[in-house]
């Protein structure tokens, strides 16, 4: 196996990303969906960090964008949880499948 470089890190990031997408697709619990989102964002962070290490041009940008991602995730989690709690208070469930009022 070749020595560890950019590609290996990107592959790990891709695993996180895809796991996040699948998680979003199959979890019926709203918080499970939220966890999927966190996984997706983490995959992105790993990519940014890998570029920051292995690419001269992104030395600062990679880190900065990964930082932004982390902060964004924090904000997103706060809002999403507030929505989930509201949902729970109104419907007494956290099953996202029961939130289908937007059905066409």
């Amino acid at each position: 196996m070749a020595s560890v470089g950019l590609t290996q890190y990107l592959l790990i990031g891709a695993v996180l990303f895809v796991c996040g997408v699948v998680c979003m697709a199959i979890k019926r619990n709203a918080i499970g969906v939220l966890m999927g989102v966190e996984l997706v964002l983490n995959g992105a962070s790993v990519n940014f960090a890998a570029f920051a290490r292995f690419h001269e041009a992104f030395r600062v940008e990679g880190q900065v964008f990964a930082l932004f991602t982390i902060v964004l995730a924090a904000a997103e989690a706060a809002i999403a949880l507030a929505i989930v709690l509201n949902f729970y208070n109104n419907y007494l469930t956290v099953d996202v499948d029961s939130a289908e009022e937007l059905k066409g």
Partner: protein, 853 residues
């Protein structure tokens, strides 16, 4: 270190504005907090001013060293001829020093800055004219800032106590027989706006900005005089003040317009601005101000010194016509009293080589030539008189003095702040600031206006019985002193008196406020008496104020009044035909002492004349007495120097002397005013240089005369009102006509009613008729026509346009109803769709790319 500490003063100016905006937005509900905010804002302004002064003083060279004198090349002075013995003094006054302004360090005073408001390009010369928003901080600005912010802070503190009853939800107004809501925050809102306007006025570096502040100050005065607007007297007084001031302001704006027309700028000092030159680079360019445009600068636009012989031809200030041979011009350049003639105005861009007699002559026919233009001498005089007319209105000079006594309808702190310490000082300040613009004719007008005012006002004050009105007329009279001093060339004396007067007059007004507050809003002195026992602090502090204004030795008024008398004496010695300019103030000094002591004796000594008032009288709370004490302290010591018993060793006077603009110094080269004033100033400073005048030293003479006069006034007042040797009632009966004349205030109000108010009312009725029947008729007719047209338009709109719009909507609705089945409403399905779409799009793109190759 700050790069340009002038911004400290800008910040100090903006603080009250911020307070005003805050209070305007939410002040209504804040109650007592509103007062604290306003007080904090003006207090902060005082602190910033103090920091600014702390920067200023080490730089000003007052303490004997100057930063800039070494840096300056001496060669500039060589071209200026032998008359410039005061080169060293010039270093502190960069007013019209061309090169130094471009090169100097912004941390060196005077501090300047600003931005261009509106820019226009005038005529074929392409010379840009601009209205500025700028600041100019020199010694005068600094000391005015300190005085205004300090006095205003104290008055704000006093007001938090004095206005406390406005905090109640319901206030009963005994004079208007009305019950109304308390208006505590409103008072402080106006006060904040006023402080901002006043500071901005002092800060401004151009006449236009001064004019704006001038109007703001006027509107604040209007609002505050009419603070108790339920009382018809208050609202009438507010109207009177406002309208009277408008007369003066019309003069101001005419004067400004003349200067703008001929000089193309309203900025007073020279300024530097960034300009794009022909190559497109940004360069610092010098923009000469009014002062420079009316005098020949010593450098041309490129910083090269002007050829020496031009100075020989023209001097600093050129009168072109009547055209005379060169030698003769050189001889007659100071003979400005000739009628007619033209003034050469130096515009933006000019070269020294171009400035020959021929150019000057050519300039008199063409509108602009080589950055030069000409201005008729009468226009200069008219502009000066116009600007001065503004000052007449604001500083309540004859014949526009009638509003100030009526303005006493406002709350007493307002009287103290606006009508004693600051706003009325604005007129004097402006005369001082714009002094170099005034031709000798204007100065004479100023001097006579001041002399007449001070005498008339003092004579009216002799018989008034309302405590605040006495003070009001005394204010008018003292302002007259200042104007007189300025008019006879005593620039230092006038502004010196302005500063000292601010303190003791604020003290007197606040003292009277304390008395009025203590006596439950009784203002008639005839009902007071014997209050000393009840209000000791007020009485003692007011006595300090009385002594100061009467000119008792060692009190601040003594120093400044002496300076004025010396100036007047020096002037009269040189112009004996104007002997009245010395006699009137001399008599008035006696009257001042008389009516001030009369006020004090009537209020605080003797037997109580109204038991009811006496029983209820009480000392005021500490928030009101504390400012009194502080102001009393300042009234005594503010003018002290070393030694204190020497009237001409005052530190404040020394400071003003040092900060005097360069044009005003006895040896300065100022042809506009030199022939008229230079010998006067020289005599006042060095009487030994005039051996032909057989008089004692003017300082001793004027000082002794004034002291004697004040002593007479004091003795007379004591005789009548303290010892009771003379019965005032009997005297009044004996001189009934004089008494009535004075009591009716020289019948000014009646005269104005006949010549101004009545015709205006008639005109107003005519206008009302025209408005009601002609204009309203036209408007109503067009309204009816519009209604008809819109009815037709409505039908078109409903039928055709709405029909089209609804059709579109219906179509979209039908399509959407069919498309909505795609939405399952399941969140997880959407995620799957997204992922699938990503894969699909990628596959499609790679397929297409593969096809393309």
């Amino acid at each position: 270190m700050l790069e340009n500490p002038g911004w400290l003063f800008v910040a100090a100016t903006l603080l009250p504005l911020i307070s005003f905006i805050l209070l305007l937005i939410g002040g209504k509900h804040w109650g007592r907090v509103a007062g604290w905010i306003a007080t904090a804002a003006i207090g902060g302004a005082f602190i910033l001013s103090a920091i600014g002064a702390a920067y200023y003083l080490p730089h000003s060279g007052l303490f004997g060293h100057s930063h800039s004198s070494e840096a300056k090349p001496a060669s500039q002075e060589e071209h200026r001829g032998a008359s410039h013995t005061h080169g060293a003094r010039r270093e502190h006054n960069h007013g019209h020093e061309y090169s130094s302004l471009l090169e100097r360090d912004p941390a060196e005073p005077p501090w300047q800055g600003g931005l261009v408001w509106a820019q226009t390009s005038s005529g074929e010369s392409g010379q840009a004219t601009a209205l500025r928003l700028g600041f100019y901080v020199d010694g005068l600005t600094v000391i005015m800032f300190l005085m205004i912010t300090l006095v205003a802070t104290l008055i704000h503190i006093f007001s938090t106590g004095y206005m406390a009853e406005e905090l109640q939800p319901q206030v009963e107004d005994h004079q208007a027989y009305a019950v109304r809501a308390g208006r505590y925050p409103r008072f402080f809102t106006y006060m904040s706006l006023f402080c901002f306007s006043m500071l901005n006025l002092v800060l401004a570096d151009n006449l236009f900005q001064i004019f704006i502040s001038w109007e703001l100050v006027g509107i604040c005065s209007y609002l505050l005089i009419g603070y108790y607007y339920e009382r018809s007297s208050a609202s009438n007084a507010a109207n009177k003040a406002f309208i009277t001031n408008r007369v003066g302001d019309a003069g101001f704006i005419i004067g400004s317009a003349i200067l703008w027309t001929y000089c193309g700028t309203l900025t007073l000092p020279d300024t530097v601005r960034l300009q794009r030159n022909a190559k497109g680079e940004m360069v610092r360019e010098l923009e000469p101000g009014l002062f420079s445009r009316l005098r020949m600068p010593n450098k041309d636009t490129h910083g090269d010194p002007l050829p020496g012989q031009l100075d020989k031809y023209f001097g600093n200030f050129v009168r072109v016509a009547p055209i005379k041979p060169a030698a003769e011009v050189a001889d007659t350049r100071y003979r400005l009293a000739e009628n007619g003639g033209w003034v050469l105005v130096f515009g933006g861009h000019f070269h020294g080589e171009d400035l020959t007699e021929e150019t000057a002559i050519a300039a008199s026919s063409a509108p602009t030539n080589m950055g030069l233009s000409v201005m008729p001498y009468w226009a200069l005089v008219l502009a000066g008189i116009g600007v001065f007319l503004g000052c007449v209105g604001k500083s309540a000079q004859f014949p526009l003095h009638v509003w100030l006594p009526d303005a006493m309808e406002g709350p007493t702190p307002v009287s103290a702040l606006i009508h004693a310490a600051t706003m009325v000082a604005a007129g004097v300040y402006l005369v001082g600031r714009a002094f170099p613009l005034f031709a000798p004719e204007v100065l004479l007008v100023i001097a006579y206006t001041g002399a007449v005012t001070l005498f008339i006002a003092a004579s009216i004050a002799l018989v008034q019985t309302d405590i605040k009105r006495v003070l009001a007329y005394s204010t008018v009279s003292q302002l007259g002193f200042m104007m007189l001093a300025l008019g006879v060339g005593g620039w230092i004396a006038g502004l010196f008196h302005l500063l000292t007067h601010a303190f003791f007059k604020a003290l007197l007004f606040l003292g009277s406020g304390s008395v009025i507050h203590g006596c439950h809003h009784e203002q008639d002195m005839m009902k007071m008496g014997g209050l000393y026992e009840k209000m000791k602090i007020t009485a003692v502090t007011m006595l300090a104020g009385v002594l100061a204004i009467a000119g008792a030795p060692l009190f601040s008024g003594w120093y400044s009044k002496d300076a004025i008398m010396v100036s007047a004496l020096a002037f009269v010695v040189h112009h004996p035909q104007h002997i009245l300019l010395f006699l009137l103030p001399l008599i008035t000094v006696a009257m001042t002492a008389f009516y001030m002591f009369r006020l004090w004796y009537l209020t605080f000594t003797g037997k109580p004349r109204d038991e009811h008032v006496y029983e209820h009288a009480h000392e005021s709370p500490w928030v009101m007495t504390l400012p009194l004490i502080v102001l009393a302290l300042f009234s005594v010591v503010v003018a002290w120097g070393w030694p204190p018993w020497d009237p001409h060793a005052s530190a404040l006077e020394h400071y003003l002397d040092h900060e005097m603009p360069i044009y005003l110094h006895p040896d300065a080269d100022n042809p506009l005013q030199d022939a008229y004033l230079a010998p006067v100033r020289k005599y006042a400073e060095q009487p030994e240089a005039f051996p032909e005048i057989q008089l004692p030293d003017p300082h001793t003479l004027a000082g002794l005369l004034a002291l004697l006069s004040a002593g007479i006034g004091f003795l007379l007042a004591t005789t009548v009102y303290y010892w009771g040797y003379l019965d005032p009632e009997a005297t009044q009966q004996q001189f009934a006509r004089v008494y009535t004349f004075l009591w009716e205030k020289w019948h000014f109000d009646a005269v104005y009613r006949w010549i101004a108010v009545r015709p205006a009312m008639v005109l107003a009725r005519i206008c009302r008729w025209f408005d009601l029947y002609v204009i309203d008729g036209l408007v109503d007719g067009s309204a009816r026509a519009t209604v008809k047209i819109s009815q037709w338009d409505g039908k078109f709109d409903l039928g055709i346009i709405d029909g089209l719009v609804n059709l579109t909507a219906d179509i979209i609705y039908a399509v959407a109803a069919w498309l909505r089945h795609v939405q399952t409403g399941l969140l997880r399905n959407y995620v799957l769709f997204l992922a699938l779409a990503a894969v699909g799009i990628f596959a499609l793109v790679s397929y297409i790319l593969a096809l393309v190759g």
